[in-house]
Symmetry: C2
Subunit: 380 residues, 2 copies
């Protein structure tokens, strides 16, 4: 018997108590029960996103919420800048181009980042830029971009800062209001420990003002209409009821742990994972601030990283992820977000040692595990 373990960078494991909450009989979304549930969820989401604004849940995946951010705040022909340093940066570009925006690519080699100063320079050079679109955590490379820095420079311009926080909400600190982020986009299946199917958008005042002039067509993802309903504890269209039920449970768990502790936990898991991989002689893919959500590791020379992913599955019944797009074959990714604890990292690293040995690589058994344990032994 091999226990199934989900260690990919999303979807992430769903805690049993959340699974069981979602397995309760279906309720209707226009009832006092749902009203009370949704009121609690609204308050919890504001705490989580660290904002006074409404956080709007949408029945869609993270990409749908990304699209919602674009179509509600921008207009065809608008010039926008996109930080492109991974697959999800490319997704912003694809979305913007699909809606006929004029994209300035601020590109960095995958694994690296774009410094805030480069964004500031772009804003100075092109004052008509209407938005800067970025990832907080770029899931494909394991890099955390400098959202705080981007916010400082966009606040000083007319451009909105639109942040994909799909793999950072509830993982890395992102105080939306304090930093002055204009739009935060998230999804249910990463730090929120839920099944995929729920996206989130939170808009600041500057972004809400922009919705009044946005000419892009929208209906299902119309956030103005959604907010009109949400403030009454309703949803514009039938919500993903079961996932919202699970969300209440998750928000209670996160509140119990305390948001600063949640961020600290993810930071420790990420540091331990990196230390373990490096102790095994492997290189990390991130050449900039690493993400606390996911660690991208470069496969040893001569080894296709897809073989490592396959060996994790075949020998250990563990799902990890390979590289996306141009990174396929060169790196593998270990997720440590959401319902993830110290011993999960130990399991991932012990399995990695065995996988490498099985693939004929020289391995000092226990070296990766030991390096992680040393991180965990540090005073929190």
């Amino acid at each position: 018997m091999k226990k199934y373990q989900l260690m990919a960078p999303g979807p992430t494991p769903v805690p049993s108590e959340v699974l069981l909450a979602m397995a309760q009989p279906m309720i209707h979304h226009r009832t006092p029960e749902y009203d009370a549930l949704f009121a609690e969820v609204r308050a919890g989401l504001k705490t989580l996103v660290q904002t006074e604004q409404e956080v709007l849940p949408l029945a869609c995946s993270g990409t749908g919420a990304m699209e919602a951010a674009v179509v509600n705040t921008l207009s065809a022909g608008d010039r926008v800048a996109v930080v492109r340093a991974g697959t999800f940066g490319e997704r912003w570009i694809e979305i913007c181009r699909a809606f006929r925006l004029d994209v300035l690519e601020l590109a960095a080699p995958f694994g690296q980042t774009v410094p805030a100063e480069r964004v500031a320079a772009a804003l100075r050079a092109e004052p008509r830029l209407r938005a800067v679109l970025v990832q907080h955590s770029e899931t494909s490379t394991g890099v955390l971009h400098d959202v705080r820095g981007y916010a400082a420079v966009t606040r000083a311009s007319d451009a909105l800062l639109i942040v994909d926080a799909v793999s950072s909400l509830g993982i890395a600190d992102l105080p939306m209001d304090a930093w002055g982020v204009d739009v935060v986009v998230a999804g249910s299946q990463k730090g929120l420990m839920l099944p995929p199917g729920l996206g989130f958008c939170a808009l600041g005042d500057r972004a809400w003002a922009r919705t009044r002039t946005s000419t892009l067509p929208k209906y299902y993802l119309n956030l103005t209409e959604e907010r009109r309903c949400v403030v009454k504890n309703e949803a514009h269209f039938t919500p993903a009821v079961s996932i919202v039920v699970g969300l209440r449970q998750v928000l209670r768990m996160l509140e119990r742990e305390g948001l600063p502790n949640v961020f600290r936990r993810h930071d420790r898991l990420a540091r331990a994972t990196r230390a373990g991989a490096e102790a095994l002689g492997l290189a990390l893919f991130a050449r900039a601030t690493p993400s606390p959500a996911v660690t991208a590791v470069v496969a040893p020379p001569g080894v296709d990283s897809e073989r490592i992913v396959a060996a994790y599955a075949a020998a250990h019944n563990i799902t990890i992820a390979g590289g996306q797009g141009e990174m396929k074959g060169t790196l593998f990714r270990l997720g440590h977000m959401g319902y993830a604890a110290e011993l999960d990292v130990i399991v991932a690293l012990a399995a990695l040692e065995q996988v490498l040995a099985d693939l004929g690589q020289p391995v000092d058994f226990g070296a990766g595990v030991r390096a992680a344990q040393k991180v965990f032994a540090e005073k929190a």
Copy 2:
């Protein structure tokens, strides 16, 4: 103790075996497990929609799938006809107008239908009509529109027939290919006995041809890209994994019962509900072919139908639905779709008798129940 019963026209109750299937540990969507699961789901959906085409699941609610049908097959400025005889007909109009289509309203008083001949006349009068958009079952009024007739007349024209089957799929017979329906749209939370959060679109050859010239902007709901992934047992974006897991279970249940039996069951439940309401002296709202999914009943003179809805909840812990939009206060709706059986109808009618009596209406206790039982006693 009062057992909670969900008898609204969606979301509908989810069978325990489906809830438990969805409560299994989360799996990743790029694994052999999901591949096998999705292959089975794809085949089952084709059987259910009675088509050779791919039925594309989307992580969105039914309205998102309606929007997908529009934005993939039409272009801004296109002239389209919409059968408007209820709230969901109005929704088609809202979606079309949001995407700047030019809408010809084929309106009928709510509770009535638009005969196929009127659609044929519109197509003759305006040969440049690019599509006819209709509901199969108009959930707000409890009317079943003549999709077969509409299909016959649209096939003879250049217009596509786009059918919202959200509250008819797995409830009323809708052989997509045999009738020549161009687009079928559905959702998870009605006949499919699942939580809301999954939409479906199936396109026929004429509709796929139209996608190649459609100029409306789209990304998240791009069906061409979705199909490219689905034929490889993948999803373009992270799918609503848990609901897809539940869907496999539902498709097995429906296959076991047999599609003709599923349709017969719904027809019997609907006839029994109507017979029961009429035996209690209540008028049915539908003045055309009634829907097998939902029965809209007119409240007795002088009684606000919202009081009936509230009394069902307060006295019996049963969720039914009131009237939507202009019908609010005048009618209430009993759902009998999906995971619904004969004795559920008996419960709904017995509770109705007690509710009416509590509201001071004269009631012949048992008369509604008896009328339903007589329907059930007929040879199947």
